[in-house]
Symmetry: C2
Subunit: 386 residues, 2 copies
């Protein structure tokens, strides 16, 4: 496989935008990425769109050509990928695979979701479709309930505390407060986080990511052509997509995501790197516990040590290994289909040294982890300076 590089990135703001529709958000992100890569729509040979639930949120299915043609693309393959919250991570994985295999020279990958036009109850119902509808969902489990069970078990098994969960929220809100594209730019204290309104015990409102509208896009090309399009190509060092059972009760151990472990191992192997080489990461903190579990599953700390790791401040913006410098899903927002490509944009921006107030000190190798549902899909990407 040829080396692949990200040569352009573009994001809309993440937030609640009653005046913006799905397509305008995606087109904004896509056009920014094309401009950043100095390419015209007619040069794009394939369009990969990640979207979770446009049919349910806004009544529009078949969204890849719906957006691709509006972007001015030619009659190229425009394809929608759906893998719950890992939809655009999956789109990115397939695009990188295709360009790496020599199928296309220039591909555009976009992720988008428009979530805020529905009621909270309807939104919870739509999100529950990423779980086992006939099983756990029918039994009443929403996603906060599933991750609450994971958190409770992690606390029981490893001594993880409410303070450790809250530390994720405090850190990510602080980071996000400096991110001009973040949904919730609000600093919170440990006391506030601990006193949050309960959602599903032990998770409070501060343990849950946000329901957002937004889009993010990247342009990729073979590394050996990357400098035609950008002065700062960022190389895909390693990438993998893996799968596991959708239902939580089918898993042997709910304190770990087998798919994340497998994707991490494959991505490290492809990159020829080990966890210790990862300088910073964007991890899928759909709930605070998910960030803690991800640090463990990716080998950034030993199993059970994810809680102390964040509580001790080692993953804060100025810490030894910043995690979710962008603010994460917790503060930046979680427009489901846009989250995977959003993470890629954030890591690329760091590697380029263009992250402004959010810039991390060591930024030559970063990792993005995108999780679908309660771990049935995982995409892990390692990016680095080219």
């Amino acid at each position: 496989m040829k080396a692949v590089a990200v040569v352009g990135i573009g994001k809309s703001a993440f937030g609640a935008f009653p005046d913006r529709d799905l397509r305008s958000l995606a087109v904004e992100a896509g056009e920014k990425a094309l401009t950043d890569a100095r390419v015209s729509p007619s040069q794009i040979e394939a369009f990969y769109l990640g979207n979770f639930a446009a049919p349910s949120f806004v009544g529009q299915n078949h969204v890849a050509p719906y957006i691709g043609l509006e972007l001015g693309l030619g009659p190229v393959p425009c394809t929608r990928f759906e893998a719950a919250c890992a939809s655009s991570g999956s789109a990115f994985f397939h695009a990188v695979s295709a360009v790496g295999a020599g199928l296309y020279e220039l591909a555009l990958v976009c992720g988008v979701e428009k979530m805020t036009s529905q009621t909270t109850a309807k939104t919870a119902e739509i999100l529950a479709g990423a779980g086992d509808a006939a099983g756990e969902v029918r039994a009443g489990a929403t996603f906060p309930a599933l991750f609450a069970m994971i958190a409770r078990r992690h606390m029981h098994q490893y001594g993880t505390t409410r303070e450790m969960l809250a530390a994720v929220a405090v850190k990510n809100h602080l980071n996000g407060s400096k991110n001009p594209l973040a949904h919730m730019r609000k600093v919170i204290t440990m006391e506030q986080a601990l006193a949050g309104k309960p959602v599903s015990d032990p998770l409070t409102v501060f343990d849950c990511s946000l329901i957002s509208d937004g889009a993010a896009a990247v342009v990729i090309a073979p590394l050996d052509r990357a400098r035609e399009f950008t002065d700062k190509p960022v190389k895909v060092l390693g990438i993998a997509q893996t799968s596991d059972y959708v239902a939580l009760d089918a898993k042997e151990d709910i304190t770990t995501f087998r798919a994340v472990r497998a994707a991490g191992e494959r991505a490290y192997k492809m990159a020829g790197l080990a966890p210790r080489d990862i300088e910073f990461a964007e991890l899928h903190d759909c709930f605070t516990i998910a960030e803690i579990v991800a640090t463990e599953d990716l080998g950034l700390v030993a199993k059970g040590q994810g809680g102390p790791y964040v509580l001790e401040g080692r993953t804060c913006l100025k810490g030894e290994r910043p995690i979710n410098a962008s603010g994460g899903l917790k503060s930046k927002g979680h427009p489901v289909g846009a989250t995977g490509t959003g993470q890629i944009c954030d890591v690329v921006s760091q590697v380029r040294g263009e992250a402004g107030e959010l810039q991390v000190a060591r930024h030559s190798v970063g990792l993005a982890e995108n999780l679908g549902g309660s771990g049935a899909t995982a995409v892990v990407t390692i990016l680095g300076a080219a």
Copy 2:
């Protein structure tokens, strides 16, 4: 790109199955394809699932790992592709591209839809999501209405008649009556077809395909390894996926599908073949007019000659170039997400000479055309004896 072969096929029956759920249909087709290819689930390196609207029809999203893990696959990439009625055609296109590029040696492609658990009104609403929701759908257009406009314009411009449309239905019902897996095994006469209950003038109930449950799957491998898995490998001679506007009113000419023309040109070029080389075809007859337009767009006849072509009997089972020997979507059924892989199974079965009562005389080169929405996605595949 390496040559790719289909080494296993499997289909569930298409029909209305109140006792079957989405997953059991997909698993049935997948297991049959694996058995046909003599491979175990653990040998499969990537799973490509085409599904249009499981979240809306049955409340289940994230369906690729949901089905893949039930099939016993390992932690491989399980990915859902959505491209309206071309969902599994698109999944097949991406799978063939990946295997051809050397990314995987064995891939399983499946298409599935479970449609009959909803009311007709709700089903029409879900299907309308494949059109332009904020435009034509909001204005009241359902899919029969969109294709009625196409038919009316084709009649106006080329002299196509109601008899010609009805000839498609009569032919496909006759073929389907011999297909043990078809949804509606009922012979109809020209008189019956012409006297059908109006749906959207000029289309009657006999011009519309069926709302069905069903699944179809194929296993693919590099051609140079194909004989490890089957005695009758069928080669993918050419394949392409293309895109066009979703909204009908964005198109310059609604009597032709630009995406089908482009996909056909690319597939012919890749195969080194011309339309005259196509001995039989499975075309996307979601409505009778769509089969007529497809024969023209694929160059099987001159523009405007698709109507006379079918009326003269030249595309019947014993005609010079059988079209929809399987019964087509019209009689076989149209479980949306399963239609693309279903067509591939049908063409492969013909090339192998295993189509029984439906066997066509000349069967060394066949074509499958899978259409998404009113032409926003097209996938054209040419298959032949290896």
